[in-house]
């Protein structure tokens, strides 16, 4: 167990190192992205550029700059943004994380429950009308891009129907901290949760249905049925459990990516200043320190989520325990 854990940590460090070098080099290889000229402002005199370059350590060799940046990011944690000078990057991410976590946890709840419900119902009534309707709805959910859905939700709830009874409860876009106003928090996040989870419900529902149907062909199901166990019990206790393995794999990857900033579009559309929004802003202004930090943060969560997924396999599928 310990060996596996250490291997995971080593993997994570390797991934993070590779990503950091790539991002760093891409930034410096892009023509026109000279940070000194951007930091100094338009029409800065050559002397000012030199002073700024020196101030930010941009006149040092690239490996040194890289090492200094990593040291500031991980050891001293005083790396500051190139754009919002004075903004410390690590605390900025730490502060933005609760917003992203609130969004992703809530959405995950909706999509796990929704995905399970759709998958189980469709499998239980497979090839019937319920199955067909659910599958068509799921496909529609998957096909709708989240940016469009988000904009439409805003158009309806913030603009066209905002003054009607249906949407008059919708607060202004933005985040309300949970510990400041729990009700406000819920109101502010409900529509973003639904928007973010819709596509996932579709995917997870369809995948789960396919897996349950496939599992029905397995010998142990036949055995269970032969034993006279009720159909509902066969579905929920036997078929579902085995079919959850791919479900969990997908969930781990998606959840990790979303917590790592993958909910960027949803955050931007709903004015939620989370990690995704921070990443989006830093990409807009080529703010290298923030890009670096948010990429590190994202890769950390992706690797972490994968590790958790691997461990869950053992719980779900007894056959993997011996490995």
């Amino acid at each position: 167990m310990l060996a596996a854990l250490l291997q995971r940590v080593a993997q994570m460090l390797f991934v993070m190192f590779g990503i950091s070098v790539l991002v760093f080099l891409i930034f410096f290889a892009t023509p026109g992205s000279d940070p000194a000229a951007r930091i100094a402002g338009k029409n800065a005199a050559p002397e000012t550029l030199i002073a700024v370059r020196h101030d930010f350590g941009l006149d040092r060799p690239l490996p040194v700059q890289y090492a200094v940046m990593m040291k500031k990011l991980f050891v001293t944690q005083d790396l500051v943004s190139f754009v919002n000078r004075g903004l410390k990057v690590v605390p900025a991410i730490v502060e933005a994380a609760p917003v992203t976590l609130s969004l992703v946890f809530g959405a995950a709840l909706f999509w796990v429950i929704g995905g399970l419900a759709v998958g189980i119902l469709a499998a239980a009534y497979r090839d019937g009308i319920v199955d067909r309707v659910l599958m068509i709805l799921s496909l529609t959910g998957v096909a709708i891009p989240v940016f469009w859905l988000g904009e439409m939700t805003n158009l309806v709830s913030q603009n066209r129907l905002h003054d009607t009874l249906l949407f008059s409860w919708v607060p202004a876009l933005g985040y309300v901290p949970l510990w400041v106003d729990p009700v406000g928090w819920f109101k502010a996040l409900l529509l973003p949760w639904l928007t973010l989870s819709l596509g996932f419900i579709g995917i997870y529902g369809r995948v789960l249905r396919a897996n349950i149907v496939e599992t029905y062909q397995e010998d142990f199901i036949r055995t269970a049925r032969a034993k006279g166990i009720s159909e509902t019990r066969v579905l929920l206790r036997h078929a579902l459990r085995m079919s959850l393995v791919p479900f969990v794999t997908m969930f781990g990857l998606d959840f990790g990516a979303l917590v790592g900033g993958g909910a960027l579009v949803t955050e931007v559309i709903f004015g939620l200043n989370g990690v995704g929004k921070l990443t989006y802003d830093s990409l807009q202004s080529l703010d290298l320190p923030v890009i670096m930090a948010s990429v590190m943060y994202a890769s950390f969560f992706v690797v972490l989520a994968n590790a958790v997924v691997d461990m869950t396999y053992a719980v779900l599928d007894p056959r993997t325990r011996s490995h």
Binding site: G32, A36, A40, N43, V52, N84, R85, L173
Partner: protein
């Protein structure tokens, strides 16, 4: 108030972003400032922390200011001449963006630029504590020195302010408001300065509103909704084009359209073929249909076609158009026949041209239009678009060999040289640098000498300088180092409870301390 994202450091001597420049006016003061008013009234420079306009001596090289007494910073500390001296030193110590371009003529500035940390400006900014006077000595006369002193970079801050970028920690100021808190990922908040007493209604009127909150993180579309739903009073970003019709018909009283001291233009690289040929440059200027171009920006209500570098309202502005069907005071129509003829004469027919645009919709559309136009008059044009984040730095750098591009220029302060000298002066052409606003690489010794003269004349006689700038504008356009397209207007959408909206022409922003809410 709502904006898409934060505008960087709140250090007024370092920040160069329009977002916070809009709000510094009510928080910090300089020795002089632009009058807090709407329209052309805002173009007048009035004494601010100084009692009166300075005496100018020594052939325009010495300015003497008498400081007002009894002014306090928002932390309760009295303003003294020490604060003024320290603030000028700080401009160099923190490597303010404009330290080397605007304030380089102060005696001692050269040493400060070379070694910022040890900056003293000895002999440059001299305080007489007992008489409350500040004397600023320049190495050469500068007709725009007072304009530059009116900008946020010359804000007077407490002497003990740290000599580095304060980033997100507010610095006390002398205006009617003071920053309360700042989180670039959430909001900037400012409220009344408890120590403020109005000393000049022109320079620094007391505000009406008690507290301002500028929230970050809403897209332009969401900002419009927030105002319609009474969740915000002012949006900083321009409303998206798709919402303009709705705003114009449903909320006409809440939309303000204000001409800006700015223009969109095409810099032509005069050192690369084919635009190293005057006739090739003239040909393109004749061919462009400016009416078609302004449609890409939102039509006649949002932009006015222009054929010259100086925008309307600027010192020295005299309307003229050289490259159109019937040259005169105004653009009339494109002249394709003449353009084709000029291309033939120039001997550049068939040459390859790459247009470099930003990835924004307007720039790209203008680029595509130019591509078809250039092909039509005999070139072989193609278009490349790059991210708006790096476009401006990229097109300035001569190493990238950009022939023609689409870009825009917004005045820092309302002076003719901020257009003519900055965009086409020999001094702002720096080869191989990302900071070279003379994108055309144009340097004409004769015109440069005339600009220097106009700058010098402006110290004593603004009207005469205006005449000189008007002539320079025309003669510059004879050489077509760039092709002006249009002067844009600022669209500001405010809530229905907002009153007394005034747009300051000088600062290209609303005079927010004059506004009130019901």
């Amino acid at each position: 108030m709502v904006a898409k994202s934060a505008g960087g450091t709140i250090d007024p001597q370092i920040n160069y972003a329009p977002l916070y420049w809009s709000y510094y006016g009510g928080i910090y003061d300089g020795l002089v400032t632009f009058r807090k008013a709407g329209g052309v009234d805002s173009l007048v420079i009035v004494p601010d922390l100084a009692e009166a306009m300075p005496g100018v001596e020594n052939a325009g090289k010495t300015y003497v200011f008498k400081l007002r007494k009894g002014i306090k910073f928002s932390n309760g500390k009295d303003l003294t001449t020490d604060d003024v001296v320290a603030s000028f030193q700080r401009i160099f110590k923190v490597s303010s963006p404009t330290s080397g371009t605007w304030y380089k003529d102060i005696v001692g500035a050269k040493a400060c630029l070379a070694k910022p940390a040890e900056c003293t400006l000895e002999g440059g900014v001299v305080a007489d504590k007992s008489n409350w006077t500040i004397t600023i000595n320049l190495t050469a006369p500068d007709g725009e020195f007072l304009d530059k002193l009116s900008m946020p970079h010359a804000s007077i801050l407490p002497a003990e302010t740290v000599a580095r970028d304060v980033g997100i920690d507010p610095i006390p100021g002398t205006g009617p408001y003071a920053f309360e808190s700042y989180d670039p990922n959430k909001a900037l908040i400012w409220a009344r300065n408890p120590h403020f007493k109005e000393w000049s209604a022109e320079a620094q009127p007391d505000g009406y509103v008690d507290r301002f909150e500028l929230d970050f993180g809403l897209t332009a579309d969401a900002q419009v909704n927030a105002i319609i739903n009474d969740q915000a009073d002012v949006m900083f970003d321009q409303p998206p084009a798709s919402r303009l019709a709705e705003l114009g018909t449903k909320f006409p009283n809440q939309v303000h359209l204000d001409p800006q001291l700015a223009f969109w233009y095409l810099p032509l690289n005069v050192n690369l073929a084919p635009f190293d040929n005057l006739k090739a440059r003239q040909a393109l200027a004749h061919a462009i249909d400016l009416k078609a171009v302004i449609n890409f920006f939102g039509g006649r209500n949002l932009a006015t076609p222009t054929c010259q570098i100086l925008p309307p309202g600027m010192q020295g502005y005299k309307s003229f158009c050289l490259h159109t069907k019937d040259p005169g005071s105004k653009w009339t129509a494109p002249d394709l026949e003449k353009a084709k003829q000029l291309v033939d004469e120039s001997g550049t027919k068939g040459q390859a041209i790459t247009i470099l645009t930003e990835d924004g919709e307007i720039s790209r559309n203008i680029g595509s239009y130019l591509q078809s136009l250039l092909n039509q008059i005999g070139y072989n044009a193609n278009i490349k678009s790059i991210s708006g984040n790096i476009h401006y730095g990229y097109i300035q750098n001569t190493n990238n060999k950009v022939q023609i591009s689409v870009t825009q220029w917004y005045a820092d302060y309302p002076a003719a040289s901020d257009f003519l000298n900055v965009l086409l002066g020999c001094g702002s052409f720096r080869e191989g640098s990302d900071s070279s606003p003379n994108i055309s690489g144009f340097c004409d010794k004769d015109l440069q000498a005339r600009m220097d003269k106009a700058l010098a004349v402006g110290i004593t006689d603004q009207a005469a300088a205006g005449e000189l700038w008007a002539a320079i504008d025309q003669d510059m356009m004879q050489q077509v180092p760039l092709i002006p397209l249009f002067n844009p207007k600022q669209v500001t959408f405010v809530s229905k409870r907002m009153g007394n909206f005034q747009f300051s022409k000088a600062t290209n922003t609303w005079a927010y301390t004059l506004g009130w809410v019901q």
